[in-house]
Symmetry: C2
DNA sequence: CGGAATCCTCTTCGATACTG
DNA sequence: CAGTATCGAAGAGGATTCCG
């Protein structure tokens, strides 16, 4: 019994995209994988509220569409993980556009809201000025509530990945909520640093201010 | 009886965006309005398969979120229409990103697919090179299967609207399928014009080639 | 014309329990 | 750890009806 997938049946680029990634949870799975490969369990942790059956179903569908692929991490890890294919990575602009738009709506956290460091990392990636994609190259490490990410800007590309950077220009530390307050425009990066809500390390003592200045030209509120 | 809206309950910019526009049909309603205000009946026509009850529900939700507003067209039309608010228009990058990604997936039309001129117009808008948003200003009129749209590029903005342009630089005519073949990269604009699948008018006989050349620098396949 | 409301069926979702 | 299985609840789809 081939369960025919539900489709809008419209010969339209937008509808076709939504046929594939428009179902509930699907783009959030892509969001989780947009910082790097993850195990089933990690995905569950980053998607509170999804059922195991639904996550399985979404991953299976995404694999079938060529957006996600299963892989085994090189030793010594050796874990089975899910990762984005090239087609999957090409959804980045969609995630970024949604994140930038969502920044406008993001007020203060609500009582019932969950919050994960990875979500802050995704928001910070979308806060990189699109004009900066050509210039202002650099590698910035984020330590958010114990989890580590890095943002790499250069060669016309911007990427955020889980894990430490080999040799970051700058390290920025803080709570997830602080990073999100910055991307949503409720807190300026400058203020955040001055108040100590964000701590900055890296470079020599003399170069730190210059590095920070450069970093501040790269990021900005995602709103706008 | 406040039916509490379903939410991901994540303090995340992407999840917040999807809380608001992630439901089935919602972004397609926005797509329809992205070429200008429309009456309920026109929306139904542009969204084959949606029920009147569901369209009503989506419009009501969008209105409540401040994305859509009801308006009355100035005389002599006087129709009651739905139009995007400023917040609604700011969803353009999301529609464009989805359209560009969907262009990769769009093969030949399937048996069961519907096809509307407006969908081709949306795809053509997303095919405008992002680099062109600063330069190459111009107004291009599309006549697609009897319906008229125009694309305006300039001042760092790109917009497609229903209706004729007052004084277009160029008029391009053709079937919806042809426009979509161009945006999906299966047919080069140059070939389309040379084969007569797209007809071009406007300018003087001497300036037409220059205009067309300029137009071709503005658009390109949305894929990529 | 421009919706809103109702009814019924089907699919999808969400939560939990269970298994290799 | 990585999923399957199951089942009640919610949402979607389609038709039809009602209302101003």
């Amino acid at each position: 019994m081939g369960k025919k997938k539900r489709s809008y049946d419209q010969y339209c680029t937008v509808a076709r995209a939504l046929d594939v990634v428009g179902e509930r949870w699907t783009l959030l799975v892509v969001r989780e994988l947009s910082t790097g490969p993850k195990r089933f369990k990690d995905l569950l942790g980053g998607l509170p509220g999804i059922g195991t059956n639904l996550l399985t179903a979404r991953l299976k569908a995404l694999e079938q569409e060529g957006i996600v692929r299963r892989a085994t991490l090189p030793p010594p890890a050796g874990s089975n993980v899910y990762e984005l294919t090239e087609l999957g990575w090409s959804l980045e602009p969609v995630i970024v556009a949604l994140s930038r738009w969502g920044s406008k709506l993001l007020g203060a956290p609500r009582e019932e809201d969950d919050l994960r460091p990875g979500w802050a990392a995704v928001a910070m990636r979308s806060a990189v000025e699109s004009g900066a994609e050509g210039g202002s190259p650099g590698v910035y490490e984020y330590r958010i509530d114990g989890e580590v990410f890095h943002l790499r800007v250069g060669d016309g590309k911007v990427e955020t990945r889980q894990g430490a950077a080999p040799d970051p220009d700058l390290v920025v530390m803080g709570e997830p909520g602080t990073f999100l307050a910055v991307t949503s425009g409720r807190l300026s990066p400058k203020e955040a640093v001055e108040s100590g809500a964000l701590r900055v390390e890296g470079g020599t003592e003399e170069s730190r201010d210059a590095l920070l200045a450069r970093y501040l030209t790269v990021i900005g509120p995602a709103v706008g």
